[in-house]
């Protein structure tokens, strides 16, 4: 059998992802504090690689990883050619438009300035609303943008809303819900059909 490669997003999703494989025959023993990025299961049938969340889809689309575990937020942002095989049910949160209380999110004749880490997704959302926007791409601390006047609104993933609250912001509109997904390379899916179906089963799919 060919060795399959599964790419995991470093951090919380990887821990939860690895937990799914616990008690299956492809469990791996990996030291979370180690800086190693590649681990192989005991039978050497599966190789796990750890990468930045935003790179997982690229690895899978290009086929260097056959499967990947990645947040739906990245799938929506990247819009790539991969199969989205399973909702793994963890890492739940949602996309939301946030800003100051009672703020207007429809300004038909105005351009709304929106800070986000997800520019492609935001463009699609506001195109559908026929609302013109100026997108300000930030890489972190998105909540800061409206507070210091960089943007009118933000679009970000919200889990509890605690960070928003601490910065005086509220959710103005809920958008897509997000959770961890199992994605597959299209060619690899076909070439390793039986193996991938078995892995889906192990992860609780049917």
């Amino acid at each position: 059998m060919n060795q399959l490669t599964i790419a995991l997003a470093k951090g919380r999703l990887a821990d939860k992802g690895l937990e799914l494989f616990k008690n299956t025959d492809i469990e791996i023993d990996c030291d979370e504090n180690s800086r190693k990025l590649v681990f192989t299961d005991a039978k050497e049938e599966i190789r796990f690689i750890f990468a930045k969340p935003s790179d997982i889809i690229t690895y899978v689309e290009k086929g260097v990883a056959d499967l990947g575990i990645v947040g739906k937020d990245m799938i929506l942002e990247e819009n790539r050619e991969v199969y989205e095989l399973m909702d793994l049910g963890f890492g739940k949160c949602r996309f939301a438009i946030a800003g100051f209380e009672n703020q207007n999110i429809n300004k038909k004749n105005d351009v709304l300035r929106i800070a986000t880490n997800y520019p492609n997704y935001v463009k699609r959302v506001f195109d559908a609303k026929s609302q013109r926007v100026e997108i300000i791409k930030l890489n972190g601390s998105i909540e800061l943008a409206p507070v210091i006047g960089l943007s009118d609104l933000i679009v970000d993933i919200v889990e509890t809303g605690e960070t928003l609250k601490k910065n005086g912001l509220v959710v103005l509109e809920e958008l897509d819900s997000i959770s961890a997904r199992l994605v597959a390379n299209k060619a690899s899916y076909r070439l390793n059909f039986d193996t991938i179906k078995k892995i889906e089963n192990k992860l609780g799919g049917n």
Binding site: R190, F193, G205
Partner: protein
């Protein structure tokens, strides 16, 4: 493919040229004749038959007559125009091409892709399809790498959707989830729309050819779907005789990349390359647009992927 030196580039070019010669000789030995596709296509014509095609990927050019043309993003459509301009369709026609297609790359540059392929027109469907599969399998076997041939029938789902009569936006959403094999979101969309039946299980209709056909037979179907299943059934023996059943993966949920396919559709994949190397199918309905409906089937082989494979084999 990027090259580290001119020597390497020349070596790869030579390998590809050898491969091209081999393929061209083989096509000619099977009675196919070479045709040169035009490089520019009328943009409106292209969109008309490919409404799902991502038009941002096409390279547009303005003609002197203020019309918009695209650098050919696909070859079949291009050569059909040429053929029907001067063909009476009295006898079957077998042609092949060795050419390039163009598209916008995500980085904004213009991407090129070498393809060889054949079109077989005017021959009875099952006979022509078997001949085409014979050729496809010969080419795949020749690459000396384990492969899988993904088989589907676009008639199966297309005729189901025609009966469903969904509004365009909902149909697009449902099809998107099927295309992405996103069972979770497909089921929730179907639930929202109150749709039950085949679409709820269509993502499970893939795998061993006989198993999938048997599974599909358990669901109520319309006449065209029945026809699609019967047709696939009639190919089972063909693949069995050649001992190829373990190489065939039937996927009734497969949505073709191009809208003009209306029957059998197939893609070939080789172990170790994350791209399809072969892609083709039947497109009888499309020929109507050129004035006369004739049975038509064709496929292309991605020469860039094939070159990558033989180059890798050569280095081992």
């Amino acid at each position: 493919m990027g090259f580290s030196s001119i020597e390497e580039e020349l070596r790869v070019r030579r390998l590809r040229k050898d491969m091209e010669r081999m393929v061209e000789d083989y096509f000619e030995s099977k009675g196919f004749s070479l045709i040169e596709p035009d490089i520019f296509l009328n943009y409106d014509d292209f969109l008309l038959s490919n409404y799902n095609f991502d038009s941002t990927k096409t390279i547009k050019v303005f003609g002197g007559n203020s019309k918009i043309y695209v650098l050919r993003p696909d070859i079949t459509l291009n050569i059909l125009g040429k053929i029907f301009a001067g063909w009476e369709a009295n006898n079957p026609l077998k042609i092949y091409y060795n050419s390039k297609i163009y598209s916008n790359s995500p980085d904004g540059s213009i991407g090129q892709n070498y393809q060889v392929g054949v079109e077989f027109l005017g021959e009875e469907a099952l006979k022509a399809d078997k001949e085409i599969f014979e050729i496809v399998i010969h080419l795949l076997e020749n690459l000396k790498t384990p492969y899988v041939l993904e088989l589907a029938s676009s008639l199966y789902l297309d005729s189901y959707f025609a009966d469903l009569n969904l509004d365009m936006k909902d149909e697009k959403t449902v099809k998107k989830h099927i295309r992405n094999k996103n069972k979770h979101e497909l089921l929730s969309t179907l639930n929202r729309l109150g749709i039950k039946g085949i679409l709820e299980v269509v993502l499970d209709m893939e795998g061993n050819m006989e198993d999938v056909i048997n599974m599909a037979r358990k669901y109520p179907t319309n006449r065209d779907m029945e026809k699609a299943l019967d047709y696939l059934d009639s190919l089972v023996d063909f693949f069995k005789q050649r001992n190829l059943m373990n190489r065939i993966n039937l996927d009734l949920s497969m949505m073709p990349d191009l809208d003009y396919y209306d029957g059998i559709v197939f893609k070939g994949y080789c172990q170790g390359v994350a791209k399809k190397i072969i892609s083709g199918g039947r497109y009888d309905k499309l020929t109507e647009r050129f004035g006369k409906r004739v049975p038509a089937v064709g496929f292309m082989m991605d020469m860039d992927v094939a070159t990558q494979l033989i180059y890798r084999g050569d280095n081992q």
